[in-house]
Amino acid sequence: MSKKRTGVFVCHCGTNIAATVDVAKVAKEMAGENTVAFTQEYVYMCSEPGQESVVQAIKDNKLDSVVVTCCSPNLHEKTFRDNAQRAGINNFTVEIANIREQCSWVHKDKAKGTEKAIKISRSVVRRVNRNKPMDAIAVPVTRRAMVIGGGIAGIQAAIDIGNAGIEVILVEKQATIGGRMLQLSETFPTLDCAQCVMSPKMVEVNRHPKVKVMTYSEVQEVAGSVGNFRVKVFKRSTFVDPDKCKLCDECTEVCPVVVPNEYEHGLTARRAIYIPYAQAIPASFTLDEDACLGLNPVVCGKCKDVCETGAIDYDIRSQTVTEDVGAIVVATGFDLYDQANIPELGGGKIEDVLDGLQFERLCSASGATHGHVLRPSDHKEPKDVVFIQCVGSRDPAKHCAYCSKICCMYTAKHARLYKKHCPDGRAYIFYIDIRSGGKGYEEFVQRTMEDDDTLYLRGRVSRLYRHNGKVRVHGTDTLTGQNVEIDADMVVLALAMVPSKGTAEIAKTLKIGRDKDLFLAEAHPKLRPVESITGGIYLAGAAQAPKDIPETVAQAGAAAAKVIALLSQATLSRSPLIAKVRRSHCTGCGMCVEACPFIAIRLEGGKAIVNEALCEGCGSCSATCLRAAIDVKNVTQLQVYEMIEACLA
């Protein structure tokens, strides 16, 4: 092997690196490395002139490999590999030494920071010395997509992808698509009815020739990688044939079982056989297996008896369906923070203390009260209603540290809806700050204060309890310094948004990360906001962070655009950094075969053979091999040993 000619490019990152790392010293030290033929520093290596200088230096100095000491490889590895290719050298001979996130940003002592930056850079220079040029593996792409979650985010993404002529499977856990938005009454800042916006979208996606809607279904297992996923979807039986169901409602009249109605957020009850809303899609009843007395004509069987069309069939079985897709959009939405965690506000046990979604259902024409604001305890019109913002949000000591973003707006909306329903009532809002960034949002809040005569009280509420048939609210107005006591007929809590219940599980199944607040983590907060860290899996809606409807729709569209771009390619390039066997060293002991999580290694003729289509390059095999006969390309054991040495030099 002739000696490598490595170029080392040291980035200052403005002062982000240069302030705590002596960049000139790093460059000087690297110049002393045996294989380094060229070094250069620049203030912003990733800028246009910086990138050009890298290309020029490769050409001028006949470099065959490159180390850029800069930020995390997650940011600019691709940038500099593309540049290397432009300059005519193989992109897999380019590596990043991360001296920003892993060094300059976390150390203040310049001498120690510089020393560490040199060690990191040197270890990567040594690694690159043994990097082999190689070509990405071309793999065919499955031109189909899956969207998980049938709320507004998922529906929008599915429609957008379908409109590009790509087949989409929309998987929804509930018995109907529509998600949270379908539960809303009106939406801010225009006060247009959520149903009027949502229902046509639901119909559109359901009728879309390219979209297959699977409700009452859950993703169970995902295998494969970007471009070629194999997804197992568990389709629960509804025990009702949607084609035969005529929505006559006879079955619910005879069903003896009563359970809380989750679609009405617990305000009303439903039967074991039910339809979530009149506008549900698919337009069919669902028999809740868990609530039903036993799907057995001997035990009950009343619904089956009255069904004239014979739509109910206790023998319809749940099934697992396997779908091959090239890309996945995760749009699993949000839940409200559990009131049980907030005992001082009743912990969900005080009558007439509602959460925001319950209030939406009260205001909604499709809700139990047909759009009349009536308090649950006595069905009378409440005359004093207290709205409390930031319940569970912005409270790092006890609850969620983050701002749930939409509560200022929807509380203002709630106050206005209430005043529309009860013009002689009084609305009070406890708030910390009003955050109304958004088109028309500030004006909306101003109108709530001025036109609708809502009393905004700046402060928090310390306690709620029942008192003389009302709910007593103990709060503080921090602007006047006075304690406030209100005997309210109804209290509405703007609870924090948290990722929906199934999000944790789906994140695990898909191997995508979650952030510190347990929302799905984007690959980069600014530059890759709709991608997960796993290739081919995209994020949309409130499962990624609290957001309002316009933002959700925009993000869903962005995720769809990413999917369309991905699936428009005939082939995808896959990382060639996979395992390779040194046949001369292999004794055929088979330890690597057992260690491989992807069943990518088999023994043939007494030697291990790697199936390149299955290998993901994790390296479990190499750590198991007693004779170092199997290695991941460009992360070989020899390379790691040399990196260790460089770290300790």
Partner: protein, 144 residues
């Protein structure tokens, strides 16, 4: 005591690419400060870390070795961290058997969302290593 104050342990930190390396990136983005004693080596997965790497690091003069990966159950490669856990458990027993303080080797689970935890792991490790002083047992004598 004064010697202990000036002594800075040298740590090699093997980080998996998907969780702990990303967690260390988050510590950086959040500007969470921690001691500069640990030099990171990013590998695809903790499952790819050969026990020999650990011994090699001690052999080359490391005072402490850290292996950090995804939380159990969250491995990007399904089960790499289970394999690592088994191997690293043996390494811990082995180094103790040959007379190296078991505290010099540490394994942690740091996800991509745990920047603060990453900084804490390094800080704690450095603090625990300081009283032990330099690691001599496995260090190969330097050739004159």
């Amino acid at each position: 005591m004064s010697e202990q104050q000036t002594y800075e342990p040298r740590i090699v930190a093997f980080l998996c690419k998907w969780c702990s390396s990303a967690g260390s990136d988050l510590a950086g983005v959040s500007r969470i400060q921690y001691p500069a004693n640990a030099t990171p080596i990013t590998v695809p997965c903790t499952g790819a870390i050969s026990p020999m790497y650990i011994l090699s690091a001690f052999n080359k003069g490391a005072d402490g070795v850290l292996v950090s990966g995804c939380h159990i159950g969250d491995c990007h490669y399904i089960e790499g961290n289970y394999l690592a856990r088994r191997k690293m458990h043996l390494i811990m027993q082995l180094i103790e058997f040959i007379g190296v303080e078991p505290n010099r080797f540490r394994m942690s689970w740091v996800s991509a969302a745990e920047g603060g935890k990453f900084a804490q792991v390094i800080t704690d490790f450095v603090n625990d290593l300081k009283p032990l002083g330099p690691q001599e047992k496995l260090k190969k004598a330097e050739r004159a």
